[in-house]
Amino acid sequence: MSEVTAPGGTIYDRGYRHYDGPREGRGRRVRAIAAAGVRRVLGLKRNWKTKVVPWGLLVLAFGPVLAFIGVRVLFAAAADEFFTYAQYLRIVAGLLLLFAATAGPELLCPDRRQNVLALIFTRPVTRSDYLVAKLAALLAVVGLIAVVPLVVLFVGNTLTADSAATYLRQNLDDLGKILIAGSVLTVFYSVIALAAASLTDRRAVATAGLLGVMLGSSALANILFFTAQFDGRRWVAFLSLSGLPGRFVDWLFGAPFDPGTLADQAGFTGPGYLVAMAVVVVVAAAILVWRAMRLRA
């Protein structure tokens, strides 16, 4: 170690030192990958262009809720009811699909495309650690949009009600439904987005592919149901992948399906759509695990 004394202080050149501090285990590694994933999805510590889509979607998810609460606070009688929780969740479901379709590929594709895995897997990181961390990152951010705006809306409705205690007592089960629906939607969109991202190392292809499958399947289901005549055609309701979350949410909150729609005429109830979502998640998870185990450094 060299030392230079100057007026007001001494400069030490310590050189390279061996590290003798604490070393954490698997949890630290998983948290590091997950935290890096959250920063990446939100465009943090990167240039401004990477922040446009995620923060734009966050503004769309939170903005109307905050504006409504502000109006109710300022002009109590002016706003009776905003959207119902079910209606707002169905709007959020559309945002969730867009967000997951961009965030999932952002989490998985660059590491493969830029060959960063050649470095990551030379640390004591297993493929399952890597996968769990990436999924945790996406669940955290998607959950932020799926759950928090609705919780904020519930809290706002409670605080701006004539009697907060009465509102809370009468509507507490809605809070439970918000948490359940938000969690189900979070898992659904996160797993399928990562599965789509695992199939290619190009973000745009993964995003377009996922949106194409989700929206295209719904279009196909509607075409088949309303134009074809065959036994069991009601079952095509379960092919409408982008419609499954909305139908589950409507059932959960006791809202009727829109008259004349595929969901209304197919005659299935919420649990059926929940089972269909579970099947989709299981298939997507199997694809994701299969692809993760094939990752090479």
Partner: protein, 322 residues
């Protein structure tokens, strides 16, 4: 204790036998792993890291069996891979800190250590820039920082001077020498540049077509080749080489000279008989290059154009500074 050891290690990729029953012992110090492209160097390194499973044989690194506990190996080993492998839109400091956390360091020590190690490898203010804007030499420094940041006991460097200009190569070789000399970290340098190995390594392992040709200290391995003479004639063409060979003096070109094996007075006499102006006749100690080419030829391999002779001296460098 050996730093790493492999016994009977084999690995096949389809029809290609990348390694064939290889036995290697890596002793403490700086060891060069030398061979042409496709000789099996990168495969051996990946097997040592546990990134590939061998078809047969076993490997151990720092006392850990790679097949049984690959994570323990990777916790104590630093690796500089060949080729591009850095994220372009992240700063060097952030990425090195992230890799430090993957080595088990808590966040704050990871950031502090990342800053220190970046400085040690020659990345000052550049570490706050995105890696995508770095030159090849700077990217190699980032990879070296990543390999060092978690304080490994053993460094595996795969083509560390790849794509670097002469000054960058000098800087990198100096860093490698410091890592071994001052930091006491054992190093395995995989390269096809024999000059780099002669500069910084104590020992060498030569591989060709999945087999080990020789291993040992550089003096031992180079000493298996008889010393010869460097001569310079007015014409070093193929007729001269054929005439020397016919006189029992095997020769081959080496830069401006011919490397000839045989007695100096016989060489002088042959030149005089043929009327060749003999401008220079100097003894030449056996080099790794000559040994490698001789062993490769004996193993039935072609001359290895990818195996480079000794690196140009700093005086011949472009003068391009980092």
């Amino acid at each position: 204790m050996l730093v790493a050891e492999v016994e009977g290690l084999s690995k096949r990729y389809g029809a290609v036998q990348a390694l064939d029953r290889v036995d290697v012992a890596i002793e403490p110090g700086c060891t060069g792993l030398v061979g042409s492209n496709g000789a099996g160097k990168s495969t051996l390194i990946k097997l040592l890291l546990g990134l590939l499973a061998p078809d047969q044989g076993r490997a151990s690194v720092l006392g850990h069996d790679v097949a049984v506990d690959p994570l323990a190996v990777r916790a104590r080993v630093g690796y500089l891979p060949e080729g591009a492998c850095l994220p372009g839109d992240v700063t060097a400091a952030d990425f090195v800190a992230f890799m430090a956390q993957l080595g088990g360091l808590p966040p704050r020590p990871a950031r502090e250590r990342a800053a220190e190690v970046c400085y040690q490898v020659g990345l000052d203010e550049e570490r706050y820039r995105a890696v995508g804007g770095f030159s090849t030499g700077m990217q190699q420094r980032v990879k070296l920082a990543v390999a060092l940041v978690h304080d490994p006991a053993f460094l595996l460097l795969d083509e560390p001077t790849d794509g670097m200009d002469p000054q960058g190569r000098e800087d990198m070789l100096e860093l490698i020498a410091r890592i071994r000399g001052e930091l006491g970290i054992d190093v395995l340098v995989s390269t096809h540049l024999l000059g780099d190995v002669e500069r910084v390594c104590d020992r060498v392992v030569m591989v060709h077509a999945g087999h080990v040709l020789a291993q040992g200290s550089i003096a031992e391995v180079a000493g298996t080749t008889e010393p010869g003479f460097g001569i310079q004639l007015a014409d070093n063409g193929p007729e001269v080489l054929a005439a020397l060979a016919a006189a029992g003096l095997p020769a081959r070109p080496s830069g401006d000279d011919l490397l000839v094996q045989g007695a100096s007075d016989l060489i002088r006499d042959v030149a005089a008989e043929r009327g060749w102006p003999l401008r220079r006749l100097v003894p030449r100690a056996p080099s790794l290059e000559e040994t490698f080419l001789r062993l490769q030829a004996a193993a039935g391999g072609p001359p290895a154009p990818e195996v480079q002779p000794a690196a140009p001296t700093p005086e011949a460098a472009w003068g391009v500074r980092r």
